[in-house]
Each structure stands twice: as structure tokens, then as C-alpha cells.
Amino acid sequence: MLKCTVNGKEIEVAEGTMVIEAFKQAGEDIAHYCWHPGLSVAGVCRLCMIEVEGAPRLMIACNTQVTEGMVVSNNSAKVQEAVKWGLDFHLINHPLDCPICDQAGECGLQDQYMKFGQYDPEMAERKVKKRKVVDLGRKIVLDTERCILCSRCVRFTDEVTKTSELGIFNRGDRSEIGTHEDKPLDNDYAVNVVDICPVGALTSKDFRFKQRVWYLDNDSTVCNGCSTGCNVNVYYNEKGYFRVKPEHNKDINDYWMCDKGRNIFKHVNKESRLLKAMKKTEAGTQMMAPGAAAKDVASLVKNYSSEQVAFVFTGQYTNEEYDDAMMYVDKIGTKNVFHWVNNPESFDDFDGILLRGDKNPNTAGLIKALEAKSFNATWEQLEADLNSGKIKLLVLAGPELQEYFPDIQEKIQLFSKAEKLVVLSSNPNPAYRDVDYLIPMKTFVEKKGSFTNFAGTVQKIQKMRLVVSQALSLNEAMQLMAGDELQVGANL
């Protein structure tokens, strides 16, 4: 460990720590645009200026290592003046179009301006004209005038994805970020460049113009898009859920997430949800409250002997839901419990960065819950028992992210061989049209609990804003189906 003094605060840092990290550790403000903890040091924005005792010139904190006894500060008039001018240089060719810029509210330039600026600009010359609204494919739009050439995005494609689609072309104040011939920036992690862009140069087509960021709340949770379990922040308000961004976890996803994971909020919003339970009757489909439907199923369960009842689970629910669910399965008394593996052939794939072939957030948790009760029935047995007519009632704890279950139609056809088929699902699906009961479920942002990722790490998810208040969690549904009453307020 090394001792150093940051703006008068004495702290201890690990060897090899850069001064900018020491500032963060000390809780001292330090302006920076190009430095990003997940990328190499560029040292080009020149904002993280510091004064080191004994050094004649100002230095940059991102490329200066802490040495034993170092006394460093950024609160002197000399540094403050340098930072003020650093901001000015960033702004002279910037269009200052904040009112129509999507980054407004979370823009590094705005933040700095509020701190150091708030005066009329000195620049009276014509700004450099550059290209606006450059289409970089289906995900991203680029505005090269807003760009401050911090090179974070270029370093990201060079260092993280190693795809090198982006470059800085031309020279001096004519420099522009871009791809060759505006080829799409379409790798599986491309939208991370939107997150790391400190200004509004790179914006996400999906999020652009949807919401002002200051009207959004956010909470941390775990991505349910695959078994990696990336830590994410989900942004929402009373109108719904709007975007997902990665949250740093050095052991799991560092600062990044894949672009597929960016879509995990889409099925959550009301317009895509199953709002009421549906029961198939001879007169047609009857709408009912989810709880009532689950109770209906409880009486159905009683009509069959326990070995005629089967449950099929997907790896999309929480550990806590599985634990309770298995308890109720036990209560019902069946051993017919099955694990629907959605894509067996690519289940073990890994792209070397974050994306895994197991498109479930909690396969590990499901397996553990099944093992705990020694439920070890095979899928072949399920098929045989359905074909032989042994299984009369099948309850499916259906997938929340249906897009990762391409065989849904085919599987429902198989399950329909039972006399009665009950499907628990957060969202409708054409394949569910003829099931006997379809019961709305909560999504991963509407409940508390935990997921266990591929490596066995247990991570909490958070309850945010309810979208379908009547929807059930798996344990609630199971409890009701097992014939128990639900305690109000006891839900997870």
C-alpha cells in the first residue's frame, strides 16, 4: 500500500494506482472525459489536471501513478483555471444543442459547464461543420459535431470487442469518429459505446427521444437474458420501462453488457403483457383474475391422482420461487417434475466476452432446487408419459423471455397431449391460444429474489415498479394451485 495526500486528505492506495483512481477513492471530484476505468488510458481530454507537489508542470491524473508520499491536488487556482479552459476548448466547436440532445441530463459537458462555466462563450468564430445524424445501422446514430473525440468508443471496439469498426478519421479539428463508409456498428456489444460516450454523439436508436433522463428512476438488478448474470440498471417511470444499462461488477461483466440484454425490459411493459387469466370453456375464453384462475387449477389438481400431475419448469424464475415451488410440488405429491432446456445444442456456447448459450438467468438455481428434492425425471420420460396418457394435467412454468424458446409451439403441442394444460406466463403467445388455463405472471422487475449464474454466483434482483399488479409470482401460483390460501402481503 502507498500513502498519499489527495486535496489534503490522507489515504492509502494499492501499488500501481493511478492518481485519478486515488481521487475517486478519496471521494474528491475530478473532471475527465477520455479516461474510463474499463479501457486503456488515452490521456487526450486533458481535463483531469493535477498539481503534484515538487513537479513544475501540471500533470494529468489518468497517466500519473501514485508514488509513496505523493501530495496531489486539483483545487488550486492554477488547476481550476486549466480545467475551465479545458472545458472551453471542448465547447468551442460543440453545437450546444442541449435542448434537442438526448444526452441532456447525463452529459459530461453539461455537468462541467454547470460547475465551471455558466458564462457566455468567448469563441466568436464559425464552428467546424461536421456530419450529423450519421446512421450506424439498426442500433446507433452518430452526431460528429457533438463528439469531443475522447476516443472511448474507438478504444472499446479495439480493446473489448476487438472488432475495430470505429476510427477517428482526418486530423486536427477536422477529426471525426466513424466507421468506414458508415458501415453499421453492429457487433453484439455495440450499444456500450452509447453508454460510455460522455456526450450526445452516440445515441441509441431504441432510446432516442423516448424520455428525458431526468424523468426516469433506476434500480440495479441482474440481466435475465442469459446465464452470465450481468449486473444492470433498469430505467423506468410511471409510463413504463425504457432502457437497461450495465452496472459495474468486476467479477462478472466489468462495465459492459451485450446488446441482446438491452431488450430485456421490452416484454415488461403493459402493452406486451398478459393482464388477465384466461380459462378455456365450451362457451369460449373466460377472463378471470389470476388468483382465481390458480384456485380453479387447485380443484383440477384434486381431480387427478398425484402421479397424473406433472410440472415443467424453465430456468427463468428466482431461487426463492423455485424453493417454494418445489415445496408445493412435494405437497401435491408428484415426482413428475421436468426441466425444459430451451436450446440444448447451443446451451454451452460462450462468445469469449459475456454472451452465453444458456439463455436463462437461473438454470443453476433450478437444477439445485430439483436436486434438493431428488426430482430427476428425464425429458424422455415426460414424452413417454404424455404419449401413453399417463400424465393428465400438466402445469408449465413458462418462460419470461419467450424469444429464447424458439420451440415453444412445438413444445405446447407436446404438452397438449395431457387432458389439461395450465400455462403460467408473463406474456401472451400465439402458441398458448388453446391451453386450458393461462395465468399471468410477474416479470423479473416486479419481484424480489435471486438468480444463480453459470458460475454459481447468487445475485439479488430487485422489485421495481409493478406493471400488472394482479400478476402472480411462481410461488404464489404454486401455493394457490396446491390448495393453500395466499396470505395478503406475504408475497415476495
Partner: protein, 159 residues
């Protein structure tokens, strides 16, 4: 249709082995393209990327950083007049105007017949013989209007 001559492709391949890394062959490769075409097109960048197995953005970065690589079609004779300090003091700017007028082009542009391009360039390292210009790579020093007349006249005779 972009078609780099075989011997130039071979030259690029040998340049890729000449230096410690093939990356160093990007500048020589761009010269090969420019010497054949007079400029470097987008197709050429794609071609080099494929030939050299180097990401296309990296080649484009290099291409657009160095100002000797032309980003648009350039005349057979590229007259590059120095307008830096010593040459400006010796009349480099007025001489550029003279050349432009004579060839009926603007600085930075190419004559209608595609024969001449005129550019103002930075210091050519020949300040003792100012004003100077390069016709492609050939230096012309201690210039004046009469010399320009002579040079252009002899170039016009070439085909």
C-alpha cells in the same frame, strides 16, 4: 471497378514482410494505390483491408491522417505550391493564384481535362529556394511566373 495491378499487389505483399509488423505496410500500400490511380477510393480501402487482413477502419484512419494521400481524384500533374512562411514571403500565394488562373482551376481542385490539380501545401523543406512547388514528387525551386509558364507548357505537351 477497382483493380490494383498485379505487380503492385505483389509489392504490397513484400512490404508486409519488410517491416516487423504488417501494419507498417499500410502507408506503402496506400502509395501503391495512389501511384496507380492518383487517389485512394473507398473501394481501394476495402481492397487493402481484405488483402492485408487489417480492419478497414484502421486503414482509413491512416489514409485520412496523412495529407499526401488524396481523398478525391487528382490530376495527372499535382502542382503543390508551398505557402508556408518563407515561400509566402517569396510570393508563393500569388504564384498559386497565377497557376490557378492560368489553368482555370481553384486551389484544391482539378482541371476539367483531369490533367492538373493545384494545391497549397505546407513547408516542403526548401525554404532557401523559395518559392517552391512539387509537381507530384518533383521539386521546382526559385519559381516565378516565367518559370511556371515554362513548366506548365512542358507538362501540357506530355500525355
Amino acid at each position: 471497378m477497382f483493380q490494383l495491378a498485379n505487380e503492385r499487389v505483389e509489392k504490397i505483399k513484400s512490404e508486409m514482410k519488410r517491416y516487423e509488423t504488417k501494419q507498417s505496410a499500410i502507408i506503402p500500400a496506400l502509395y501503391q494505390v495512389q501511384e496507380q490511380y492518383g487517389w485512394v477510393s473507398k473501394e481501394a480501402i476495402d481492397f487493402l483491408s481484405e488483402l492485408m487482413e487489417i480492419p478497414v477502419a484502421e486503414i482509413r484512419e491512416v489514409f485520412t491522417f496523412y495529407t499526401m494521400f488524396n481523398q478525391k481524384p487528382t490530376g495527372k500533374f499535382h502542382l503543390q505550391v508551398c505557402t508556408n512562411i518563407s515561400c509566402s514571403m517569396a510570393g508563393g500565394r500569388e504564384l498559386t493564384d497565377y497557376i490557378c488562373k492560368k489553368l482555370n482551376v481553384k486551389a484544391g481542385e482539378t482541371s476539367a481535362d483531369g490533367k492538373f490539380s493545384v494545391s497549397k501545401v505546407e513547408c516542403l523543406g526548401s525554404c532557401d529556394t523559395a518559392p517552391v512547388m512539387q509537381n507530384n514528387f518533383e521539386y521546382h525551386e526559385n519559381l516565378n511566373e516565367a518559370k511556371i509558364d515554362q513548366i506548365i507548357e512542358s507538362l501540357q505537351k506530355l500525355n
